[in-house]
C-alpha cells in the first residue's frame, strides 16, 4: 500500500523552489533581530507600546533601586592577602604593656589585623603571665574616638611636615639663645628611648629631662638612694615571704606592680590537703583596700600615724635584735598596737622569710622600712635590690622646681610626654599658669587632655599597640613591644618625633634594633646571629640578660640633676634622723583623708575607658564615680546618710562628693579616690566624679597622699551611687564558706562540714546515664578557689573584652542592670565587741555603729558566673527553647531564638543572666538607646574591639557566660586538625587566663587525668546552692584565713 503523504502547504505540494530551500533551515523565516536591536531602529521604530514597556521597566527599576536603601559596606577584601593573616584565625603577638605606672609582658590577640584581646605572657619572669583590669582594658584605649587623629597646632589640624618645620624652627632659635628646654615625661623604662633622650640632650645641651608620676613613689626612691645609693624601687618576692606586713601599701591592687605581686603573693596562700601552710599577712591601713581585705590580720592606722606605727615595729624588732631603739615612740591604741607586737614577733621568727612594705611616699618612713627589712634579713631573700625595678621614677621635687621655673619665665621650651600635670599635679593651676609663660609647648599626649589642650602643639604619640618599643622594668629583664596594627590615625612615635627634631632620619624600629644589637646582643651567648636573637626576643616578647645585675646604662638619668635635692630630703640620714623627722609630724583636725587609687581608674589615665569606669570597685562595688568613704559609725554619728553630698575643703580647694558607708574604714578617716573629675578626656570620662589631686599635700620634699585638717560639711544634696551590689551581708547562708588555717590543718573539711548532709540528699530517680555525661565526650567544669581570689576584678574586664559584654552606663547600673557575665560578689562579715559574727543585715551601716573596732570587718570575695547547671532551672522555663544544654554540659544561649521573656533570669538562683534592656552595642535598627557613658561603645571605631568570634547581642535578648564556648570550639578544631584528642589545658577560658591569682581552674570533668578532675575531690570543694539539685558545673573551695581562731 502506498504510503500516505501529508503536506504542509501548497508550496510543498507544488515543490516550490524557494520553499524547498528554506525548508532545511532551522528558522525558515529570518528573525527580526536586526530590526529590533540595530541601533538605528531602537530609537526610531519604538512604538507606543514599546515606549510604555520601557517606561514601565525603567520606572520600576528606578523605584526598586532608589527605595531599597542598600547599606554601604566598607569591607574591602585584600587584593594581596598578607601571608600571616587568615580570615577567622587569630594571630598572637608578644608585646609589652607599660603606661608609665605599671609594667606587664603581654600577648596580643589580633583578628584580621585588629588587636582585640590582651593576655599575659607566661614567658616573662617578671609578671609570669599575670595581667590585671587596666592591662586587659588597654586594648579599648586603642579604639578611643577621642584620641587625636594627627598633629595639631592649637585647635587646628596640621601636617607633620608643618609641625616639624615650625617646632624645629622654634627649637633651633631657643637652642641658639641657650634657652632652657625641659622634657617632662612619665617614667620611661625603654632603654632605647632613654638613650635617644640622652642624644637629644647632647644635641640640645640646655635640655633637662624630668619625670613625673601622678601617684608618686619619689619618697621611696629617695630613701633607697640614700640607703643603697640606687634611685630605684626594689624588686619584691612576695612568694618567698611567710610573714608579710604592709603599712597601707595596696600591693594587690595598685601599689607598684600589683599583677606581678598578686601572682607571687598567691603562691604562699594556696592550701591543699597535706599542705596546710600559708603566709600570714598583716595590713595596717585607714581605708579598706583589696590588699587589706585579703589580710589575715587587719588593723586601722591613720595615714598620719603610719610613721608612728612603723617606728613602733622598728623598736619592737630592735629589742629582739638587741639593737638600739629610736627613742620612745608613743604606742598605738587597741588592735593596731597589739597587732604590731605580734607582727614583730612573727617577723623576727621568720627572718629571711619576711617582708615589710609601706605605701607612704615619705622618705623617712621608707628609710625606716628599709632598716626594718635589713634587720629582718629581707634583702637578698624577699627583696632584691640587686635587680631593682625602674617602673616608677617620678621626682616630685624636680617637678615642683619645674613649676617654679616655668612661672619665673625661665623655661623656653617644654615637651610633655605621657604626663598630664594640668590635671593630676597638686599645683595644677600653677602649672597651667606657668605653661602659658613657656615659649614652646609641645604635647605628645594621645588626646587633647587638660595639659595637651593648653600646649601650642600636639604631636600625638602612637598607642602602645601601634608602636615599637622596648622596656627594662627590672635590671636584666628586657622586653619588646611590637605594633599589632598599623597606626589608626596620623600619629607618630614619640621617639621618631625626637629623631626628626634632632634632624635625624630613620625610624624607631631601626633605632631599637640597633640598640639591642649593640647593647643586649653581647649580653648573651646563646645566639651567635643577631637576627636570630632578635627574632627570638621578638617572638618571646622578653629577653633575660645573663649579665643580670648590670644596671640600666642610663637608669639614673632622670635623677642625675636632682640627686642632690632628693638626697637632701633624707639628709643627715641615719635612722635616728628619720625617726625624729617622723615623730615631729603631727596630725591636726578631726578627720584625715586618705587619697588612694582605684583598681580600674588608677591615676585617671584611663578615665575614658568605659570598661574600667564600669568595673565595680572591688570593695565598694561603686561604678562611674568617686566618693568619700566613711566609717558608717562615724557618718551616722554625724547624721550623714549614704549618698549625701559632702563638701570637702582642704588646700584652698573644695569638692563635693557623695558619702559611701565603707565598713572597715577607720573612725575619723575618710578615703577619696584619685583619678576622677577629668574634664578633657572624652565622652565617657568627662565629668565622672571629682578631682582629688589638689588635696595631695607637700611633705618632706615629696607628695603626701593624705590630708589632715580638712573640713567636711554637708551640702544638703543627695545623689545615688551606682553600685552593682547593694546588699553586703551573706545573711548566714552557706554560699561562701571559710575556715581558719588551724581548723583546716586539723580537719580538711573545716568550714565545709554541711556539704556531707547536702550530698546525702542528692538522690535521683532517673538512671545515672541520663544525668551524667560519662563517656559522651567532655563535660566542662570549673573550680574557683576562694582562698586564692583576691577580688581584683581583672577577670571581669577580661570577660568583657572576650565576650563583647556591653557597657550600660551609670544610669542603668543604678537601676541594677549591670551586664557583666562574670562578677565578683563581695560580702562583709563583722565581729561585734563580744566576738559574735554579725552576718545578717538589719540596717546597713547601723549594725556597725556599735562596733568599737572598725578593722573587725572581714571581706570575702566570690567570683560568680553562670554555673552551667546540668539540671538548669533556666532551661526548662524558656517557652521557645532558646537556652538548652549541650552534650558537653554547657548551658547554651541561642540568641536568635530568644524572645526575651526574662523567665530564665527570674528562675536563675544565681542571678547571672543578663538581659539587653537597650541596644547597648549598636546592633540593630533602633537608635536612641544611648545611655550616658555607654554611648562611647556605639562608635564605629570603638566597635573594632569586638571579638568577631562572639555574637553581638541585640536589644531584648538574654545573655550570660558561655564558658567561652568559642575558645572551646577553637581548641577542639585545633586538636582535630592535629589529629589528636583534646588534652587538658587546651582550653583556657578568658577569666581563668587573666586571673593573676590563678584562682580559676577549667577543664573536662570526664577526663580523669585533668587538673579539675584531680582537684574535684578536695575536701574544701562545694557547690553554691547545691541543695537545690540544679547540679552546677562550678565548684568553689573554702577560704582559709591564717588567723588565730
Amino acid at each position: 500500500m502506498e504510503q500516505k503523504t501529508y503536506w504542509k502547504g501548497i508550496e510543498e505540494l507544488t515543490q516550490d523552489n524557494a520553499f524547498e530551500q528554506k525548508k532545511h533551515n532551522e528558522f525558515p523565516e529570518t528573525l527580526p533581530i536586526e530590526d529590533v536591536f540595530s541601533e538605528n531602529n531602537l530609537g526610531k521604530t519604538s512604538k507606543r507600546r514599546d515606549f510604555l514597556k520601557q517606561l514601565g521597566f525603567s520606572l520600576t527599576a528606578a523605584t526598586v533601586a532608589a527605595s531599597c536603601e542598600i547599606p554601604v559596606k566598607k569591607a574591602i577584601p585584600y587584593v594581596v592577602k598578607p601571608e600571616e593573616i587568615t580570615p577567622g584565625v587569630a594571630n598572637w603577638y608578644a608585646s609589652t604593656f607599660y603606661d608609665g605606672t605599671e609594667y606587664c609582658s603581654i600577648l596580643v590577640k589580633t583578628r584580621e589585623g585588629r588587636p582585640i584581646k590582651i593576655e599575659g605572657n607566661t614567658l616573662s619572669p617578671v609578671t609570669r603571665g599575670a595581667t590585671n583590669a587596666k592591662v586587659q582594658a588597654s586594648v579599648l584605649n586603642l579604639y578611643d574616638v577621642n584620641r587625636l587623629r594627627g598633629p595639631r597646632k592649637g585647635e587646628e589640624d596640621i601636617s607633620w611636615e608643618q609641625a616639624d618645620k615650625e617646632i624645629m624652627q622654634k627649637l633651633s632659635g631657643i637652642a641658639a639663645n641657650e634657652g632652657n628646654i625641659r622634657l617632662l615625661t612619665g617614667s620611661i623604662i625603654s632603654p632605647s628611648t632613654r638613650q635617644l633622650i640622652n642624644e637629644f640632650k647632647a644635641q640640645y645641651p640646655t635640655t633637662e629631662h624630668i619625670t613625673w608620676d601622678a601617684v608618686s613613689h619619689a619618697g621611696m626612691l629617695a630613701a633607697n638612694e640614700n640607703y643603697f645609693g640606687k634611685r630605684a624601687l626594689p624588686t619584691y618576692n612576695f612568694d618567698k615571704a611567710q610573714i608579710i606586713v604592709s603599712f597601707d601599701a595596696d600591693f594587690l591592687g595598685t601599689w607598684i606592680s600589683p599583677s606581678a605581686f598578686t601572682r607571687q603573693y598567691i603562691q604562699n596562700r594556696k592550701v591543699a590537703k597535706g599542705k596546710a601552710k600559708m603566709s600570714r599577712h598583716y595590713q595596717f591601713e585607714p581605708g579598706l583596700s583589696i590588699t587589706g581585705s585579703n589580710a589575715d590580720v587587719r588593723a586601722s592606722v591613720k595615714p598620719s600615724q603610719q610613721g608612728q606605727a612603723i617606728l613602733n615595729l622598728y623598736n619592737k624588732l630592735a629589742v629582739l635584735a638587741n639593737a638600739s631603739e629610736v627613742g620612745s615612740v608613743s604606742k598605738l591604741d587597741g588592735k593596731a598596737g597589739s597587732a604590731i607586737a605580734t607582727a614583730a614577733t612573727e617577723l623576727w621568727q621568720n627572718r629571711g622569710r619576711s617582708l615589710v612594705v609601706a605605701g607612704s611616699n615619705d622618705t623617712h618612713i621608707q628609710y625606716v622600712v628599709n632598716a626594718i627589712n635589713e634587720m629582718l634579713n629581707s634583702y637578698g631573700a624577699t627583696i632584691d635590690m640587686d635587680h631593682p625595678s625602674y617602673i616608677l621614677q617620678g621626682n616630685d621635687k624636680a617637678v615642683m622646681d619645674l613649676v617654679a621655673e616655668m612661672n619665673s619665665g625661665n623655661v623656653s621650651a617644654l615637651f610633655l610626654h605621657n604626663v598630664n600635670p594640668a590635671y593630676d599635679h597638686p599645683m595644677a593651676d600653677k602649672f597651667a599658669a606657668g605653661l602659658k609663660k613657656v615659649g614652646l609647648t609641645v604635647s605628645f599626649n594621645e588626646r587633647a587632655d587638660e595639659t595637651g589642650s593648653m600646649c601650642q602643639f600636639s604631636t600625638p604619640d602612637h598607642h602602645y599597640l601601634e608602636s615599637w618599643d622596648d622596656a627594662m622594668p627590672i635590671a636584666g629583664h628586657y622586653s619588646l613591644s611590637q605594633p599589632t596594627i598599623a597606626p589608626l590615625h596620623k600619629t607618630r612615635a614619640f621617639a621618631e618625633s625626637l629623631l626628626a627634631w634632632m634632624g635625624k632620619d630613620g625610624n624607631y624600629y631601626d633605632y631599637i634594633k640597633k640598640y639591642w644589637e649593640e647593647n643586649l646582643f653581647p649580653q648573651q651567648s646563646k645566639y651567635t646571629n643577631f637576627n636570630t636573637f632578635w627574632d627570638k626576643s621578638l617572638h618571646d616578647g622578653v629577653f633575660n640578660s645573663s649579665a643580670g645585675s648590670e644596671p640600666m646604662a642610663d637608669a639614673t638619668d632622670a635623677a642625675d640633676e636632682t640627686t642632690e635635692e632628693a638626697g637632701s630630703a633624707a639628709s643627715g640620714t641615719g635612722i635616728d634622723a628619720a625617726a625624729s623627722a617622723i615623730k615631729s609630724h603631727q596630725s591636726k583636725g578631726d578627720i584625715e583623708i586618705s587619697l588612694y587609687e582605684k583598681v580600674g581608674i588608677g591615676d585617671g589615665k584611663y578615665a575614658n575607658n568605659p570598661w574600667l569606669q564600669e568595673l565595680p570597685d572591688p570593695i565598694s562595688k561603686v561604678t562611674w564615680d568617686n566618693y568619700i568613704a566613711l566609717s558608717p559609725k562615724y557618718a551616722i554619728a554625724k547624721g550623714w546618710k549614704q549618698g549625701d553630698i559632702l563638701k570637702i575643703t582642704a588646700n584652698n580647694h573644695s569638692i563635693e562628693l557623695p558619702v559611701l558607708y565603707q565598713p572597715g574604714q577607720m573612725q575619723g578617716t575618710a578615703s577619696i579616690a584619685l583619678g576622677y573629675g577629668r574634664n578633657k578626656v572624652g565622652k565617657a570620662g568627662n565629668g565622672v566624679g571629682q578631682n582629688a589631686f589638689p588635696f595631695v599635700s607637700w611633705h618632706n620634699n615629696s607628695h603626701a597622699y593624705y590630708i589632715t585638717g580638712a573640713t567636711v560639711e554637708p551640702t544638703g544634696k543627695h545623689d545615688e551611687l551606682a553600685q552593682t551590689q547593694t546588699h553586703h551581708h551573706v545573711e548566714g547562708r552557706p554560699i561562701v564558706k571559710e575556715t581558719t588555717l588551724g581548723a583546716y590543718a586539723k580537719n580538711p573539711v573545716a568550714g565545709n562540714e554541711d556539704r556531707a548532709k547536702v550530698q546525702s540528699h542528692m538522690v535521683t530517680l532517673y538512671p545515672k546515664e541520663l544525668s551524667d555525661y560519662k563517656g559522651n565526650g567532655p563535660h566542662w567544669g570549673m573550680l574557683v578557689d576562694l582562698n586564692s581570689c583576691v577580688g581584683c576584678g581583672g577577670c571581669v574586664v577580661a570577660c568583657n573584652a572576650e565576650n563583647n559584654v556591653p557597657v550600660v552606663g551609670k544610669e542603668d547600673i543604678r537601676m541594677a542592670r549591670d551586664m557583666h557575665w562574670m562578677r565578683i560578689d563581695r560580702y562583709y562579715t563583722y565581729v561585734d565587741d563580744n566576738g559574735n559574727a554579725i552576718n545578717k543585715e538589719k540596717a546597713f551601716g547601723k549594725d556597725l555603729a556599735n562596733i568599737a573596732d572598725d578593722a573587725a570587718v572581714e571581706v570575702i570575695f566570690q567570683p560568680m558566673l553562670c554555673q552551667h547547671c546540668d539540671n538548669a532551672p533556666c532551661e526548662n522555663v524558656c517557652p521557645v527553647a532558646a537556652t538548652s544544654h549541650s552534650s558537653e554540659g554547657l548551658n547554651q544561649m541561642a540568641y536568635n531564638r530568644c524572645i526575651g521573656t526574662r523567665y530564665c533570669a527570674n528562675n536563675c538562683p544565681y542571678k547571672v543572666r543578663r538581659f539587653n534592656w537597650r541596644d547597648y552595642t549598636n546592633t540593630d535598627a533602633f537608635p536612641w538607646n544611648e545611655m550616658p557613658g555607654a554611648e562611647e561603645m556605639l562608635e564605629d571605631l570603638t566597635r573594632m574591639v569586638l571579638n568577631p568570634d562572639v555574637t553581638v547581642r541585640s536589644r531584648g535578648v538574654m545573655e550570660k557566660c558561655s564558658f567561652c564556648v568559642q575558645r572551646i570550639q577553637d581548641a577542639k578544631l585545633t586538636a582535630k586538625r592535629e589529629h589528636r584528642p583534646l588534652k587538658d589545658g587546651d582550653v583556657t577560658v578568658a577569666c581563668q587566663q587573666s586571673c593573676p591569682a590563678e584562682a580559676i581552674v577549667f577543664g573536662d570533668m570526664n577526663d580523669p587525668e585533668s587538673k579539675i578532675s584531680k582537684m574535684g575531690k578536695d575536701e574544701r570543694n562545694y557547690a553554691v546552692l547545691e541543695e537545690l539539685h540544679v547540679l552546677p558545673s562550678i565548684q568553689y573551695q573554702t577560704k582559709v584565713r591564717n588567723k588565730k581562731a
Partner: protein, 478 residues
C-alpha cells in the same frame, strides 16, 4: 410576632406562674418590681435603644483617653525597649506580669458564674452572668496584652506557637509553663467568647425584633445569626450552652492553675509552692467577683437595673467573696506555716522578708485588703449595703493586685544570693500601660453596655415565674 427570647419553658407557661416549679417564698426575689415578660425586655433593652446619657459620654471619654495613653506607652515600650521599664537583672517581671495575673484573675468570675453556677443551679446568676462574661472577655484581652508587650522581642512573639516550620522543624519547649499559659489562655478566651456570644444570640434577636430602623434590624439580625426562637433552635441553644458550660467548668480551675505554675514550678523561694493552684483559683474568683460587683453596682445604677440586679444578687456574690477571701487568707497563713515547716532558710527568709522587708507595705496592704476586709461581710447589714460593697470591691481588687505584686516582686528581689538583691519600682511607662489596660477594659465595657443587653433577657425570663417578686406575690396570694 413571637417573642424570640422567651424560652420554651417560659413560653408554655406564659402568664401562668403558679403552674411551674415552686420556689420557697422565703427566698428573696431575684426580679423586683411589678414586671412581666414584656417589661423585662423593655427595661433591659432601654440602654441599647436610647441615646447615651451624658454620664456615659463622660465615662467613655475618660476611659478612651486612658486607652490612648496606654497605646502610647505600649508604642514607647516597643520603640525604646523594655529598658524603659523599671525592671533589672534581679527583678525580671514587675508590673507587667503583676497586671497580667491580676487581669486573668478578674477574668475568672464570668466563667464561674456562667458555668459552675449554672451547673449548681444558682438562679441568681442570671442577673449578672452577661456582664460578668463580657467582663471576662475584656479582662482576658487586657491580660493577654502583657505577655506580649513584656517580651524583649515582641516581633518574634509567634515563636512559642507550635507550628511546623523550616527551622528544623523547631518546636517550642513543651516543658515551659509560659507555653502552657499560651494554650491555657487561648483556650479560655475562645471558650469564654463562644459562651458569651451563644448567650447573646437570643438577646440580639430581641433587640432586632424591637428595632425600628432597617440598618439596626439588619445588623442585629446578622449578630443574632437570624435567630427565630423556634423550639428547635432553643433546643440546640440549650444543648450548646450546656456543652460550653461543661467545657468551661474545668477551665475555671485550669487557667489560673496553669498561671500559678509559672511560679510554682520555679525554684525561687516564695514562688516554689505547691499550694499555688488552689490558692490562685480562689484568689482569681475572689478578685473576679469583686470586679463584677464594681461594674454591676455602677451598671445597675446608671442603667436603672436595680430591679434585675438586686440586693439579693449583691449579697449572694458577697457570700462567695467571704468564702474565697477566707480561702485566700488561709492560703497566706499556710504559706507561712510551710515556709517555717520546710526548715529551708531561703524559704523562711522569703516570707519574713515579705512581711517585714522593704516591701512590707505591699504585704500588709494585701493582708488588710484580702484577708481582713472581706470578713466584714459576715455582718449582714454590710453585705447588703450597696455602697459598702462597692467600696470593698475596690479594696479587694487593690488587695489582689498587691497579692500578685507581693508574690512576683518580693520573691524575686531577695532570692538566694544576697549579692544580687535589688529593689524595683515601676517607670511611668509601666504605670501608663496599666492605666491603658484599665482604659481598654472600661471602654470595651461601656461600648458593650450600649450595644448588647447587659442582663441576659432570655435567662432572666426563664427564672421570672420562679423568682420574681411578681411571681412570688402571686404565689403568696394563693
Amino acid at each position: 410576632m413571637v417573642d424570640s427570647t422567651i424560652t420554651p419553658e417560659a413560653a408554655t407557661d406564659h402568664g401562668h406562674a403558679h403552674h411551674g416549679p415552686v420556689e420557697s417564698v422565703i427566698r428573696e426575689s431575684l426580679i423586683d418590681g411589678k414586671k412581666d415578660y414584656h417589661q423585662i425586655s423593655e427595661d433591659i433593652c432601654r440602654s441599647v435603644e436610647t441615646r447615651p446619657p451624658l454620664l456615659w459620654l463622660a465615662a467613655i471619654t475618660v476611659s478612651s483617653a486612658a486607652l490612648g495613653f496606654g497605646l502610647f506607652t505600649i508604642g514607647w515600650t516597643i520603640w525604646f525597649g523594655i529598658g524603659e521599664w523599671g525592671l533589672n537583672r534581679t527583678i525580671g517581671w514587675g508590673w507587667g506580669i503583676t497586671n497580667f495575673v491580676w487581669w486573668i484573675g478578674i477574668g475568672h468570675a464570668g466563667t464561674l458564674i456562667s458555668a459552675i453556677l449554672l451547673l449548681f443551679r444558682q438562679r441568681w446568676r442570671t442577673g449578672v452572668n452577661r456582664a460578668a462574661e463580657a467582663m471576662t472577655i475584656f479582662a482576658v484581652i487586657c491580660a493577654a496584652l502583657f505577655p506580649g508587650i513584656h517580651m524583649g522581642r515582641l516581633w518574634l512573639g509567634f515563636y512559642p506557637l507550635p507550628y511546623p516550620n523550616t527551622r528544623g522543624s523547631l518546636w517550642p519547649n513543651f516543658d515551659s509553663p509560659l507555653l502552657w499559659d499560651v494554650f491555657a489562655i487561648s483556650t479560655y478566651f475562645t471558650v469564654s467568647l463562644l459562651f458569651w456570644y451563644t448567650g447573646l444570640i437570643p438577646d440580639f434577636a430581641t433587640v432586632r425584633d424591637r428595632a425600628k430602623s432597617y440598618i439596626r434590624k439588619f445588623i442585629y439580625n446578622v449578630l443574632s445569626f437570624g435567630w427565630q426562637g423556634s423550639a428547635r433552635q432553643w433546643a440546640r441553644h440549650e444543648i450548646l450552652s450546656l456543652i460550653l458550660a461543661g467545657l468551661s467548668t474545668p477551665l475555671v480551675l485550669s487557667v489560673h492553675t496553669i498561671v500559678s505554675f509559672d511560679f510554682a514550678t520555679s525554684v525561687i523561694p516564695g514562688w516554689h509552692t505547691t499550694i499555688f493552684p488552689p490558692y490562685f483559683v480562689a484568689g482569681a474568683i475572689f478578685s473576679g467577683f469583686a470586679m463584677v460587683l464594681t461594674l454591676m453596682i455602677i451598671t445597675r445604677k446608671v442603667l436603672k437595673l436595680e430591679e434585675y440586679i438586686t440586693i439579693g444578687h449583691i449579697e449572694a456574690m458577697n457570700k462567695i467573696i467571704i468564702l474565697t477571701g477566707s480561702i485566700v487568707g488561709i492560703a497566706y497563713i499556710t504559706e507561712f506555716f510551710i515556709a517555717w515547716y520546710s526548715g529551708m532558710e531561703y524559704e523562711m527568709y522569703a516570707f519574713i522578708n515579705r512581711a517585714f522587708g522593704p516591701y512590707w507595705w505591699a504585704y500588709w496592704s494585701m493582708m488588710t485588703c484580702n484577708v481582713i476586709s472581706p470578713q466584714l461581710f459576715w455582718i449582714r447589714k454590710l453585705r447588703r449595703s450597696v455602697w459598702f460593697t462597692f467600696f470593698l470591691s475596690i479594696v479587694i481588687n487593690i488587695g489582689m493586685w498587691f497579692e500578685r505584686f507581693v508574690i512576683i516582686v518580693t520573691s524575686l528581689h531577695r532570692d538566694y544570693l544576697p549579692s544580687s538583691w535589688a529593689m524595683y519600682s515601676p517607670s511611668w511607662v509601666e504605670v501608663g500601660i496599666f492605666v491603658g489596660t484599665l482604659g481598654l477594659f472600661f471602654t470595651c465595657f461601656l461600648i458593650f453596655a450600649r450595644v448588647a443587653p447587659v442582663v441576659a433577657i432570655a435567662e432572666v425570663k426563664s427564672i421570672f415565674k420562679l423568682s420574681s417578686a411578681e411571681a412570688k406575690s402571686k404565689q403568696g396570694n394563693h
